[in-house]
Symmetry: C2
């Protein structure tokens, strides 16, 4: 029996190369999960096969900038001349439906979410040691030494931002990390501030 | 891989008759648990078969009162002319060994713990509805209607104190309640304030 019926906004972040995407995929494969994605909005051109509202919401730069001014993004960033962002209203709809919304985003975006949604659950995924992450960045094999060096520097800056998050989860094994995150989600639902309202109704006999 | 090596002080409380003892027993039977009891101190006489340091620490009233003055109890209470209390130093030892110390105590004592140990995890166990608890109090069958009435009144006062706890856990099924508590314990270990210290060591390369 669940006392909190509203979904949780779970922000999964961590240093570049820690394996956020793999852990997110593992979460969506867990039994009894109730997760949903949030479709991002972008100003980049639609690629062949991409569907508006499924892969992204595709909008013009003017439209995007208007939405920034109207405070309609949970977080947004510019990347190689294009905007990317998470629309607030879509996330809110899912949360009201009782879905857990997982945002797998970069550190910069995650900290924007903290400012907008006070009760978001911020999880910082970390490697068991720095070398594990360095090896991972190197073994991708598709990038030049300069790019790899750049990403290692970025990761080193990001490592230090862990203290801004609610939880630190070690990604030693993907399934362990996903298990820990499931436990965090269950615990967060049981938190008094999330469950006291329905509990009081229950006790007063509605 | 666990970033927090110190054990947690978990206070399991809730209204009279909610089934705290049954849930505690279920917790000790969980796989991969690392729980320990805390042996209470009392001024009541040792009964045949009871062992000092196992069932209770048996001390005199003078000794007990001296310890109260010296602030050596996590919580204590008087009951039918005798003192009962949880010695702080024994709990601290277990926590340092990395054990989770479960205190199954009455609401009054639980709130004393909150004042003494800021990072204790306070769990309020509740019935799925008031009637479930009333039926339970009645069905014990060993008490007079007056005593039952008294206990129902007490439970009704206790119900309202949920907001002072960190988590509210519904005891719909014992195994579900124990599962939720296990999730809370895992999540608490991953909390940034508990794990940042070791994480920073890891990242700085010790």
């Amino acid at each position: 029996m669940k006392l909190n019926e509203r979904g949780l906004l779970v922000v999964l972040s961590g240093p570049s190369g820690v394996g956020k995407g793999t852990v997110r995929k593992a979460l969506f494969q867990m039994p009894e999960q109730n997760f949903t994605y949030s479709v991002s909005m972008t100003t980049r051109n639609k690629r062949p096969g991409e569907i508006d509202g499924v892969d992204y919401y595709f909008v013009t730069k003017e439209e995007f900038q208007k939405r920034i001014k109207e405070n309609k993004f949970l977080e947004h960033a510019e990347f190689v001349g294009n905007y990317y962002g998470t629309p607030l209203d879509k996330v809110e709809e899912r949360l009201q439906e009782g879905k857990e919304v997982i945002l797998e985003i970069e550190v910069e975006g995650a900290l924007q979410v903290r400012d907008k949604v006070k009760d978001a659950v911020l999880i910082f995924l970390v490697p068991p040691c720095k070398e594990a992450l360095y090896n991972r960045l190197k073994s991708r094999g598709t990038e030049s030494p300069e790019v790899i060096e750049e990403r290692i520097k970025k990761a080193n800056r990001e490592f230090k931002l862990a203290y801004k998050y609610d939880y630190i989860v070690v990604n030693d094994e993907v399934v362990n990390a996903a298990d820990r995150i499931m436990a965090i989600i269950r615990a967060e639902h049981a938190k008094t501030e999330r469950s006291i309202h329905k509990y009081m109704k229950l006790i007063e006999g509605e």
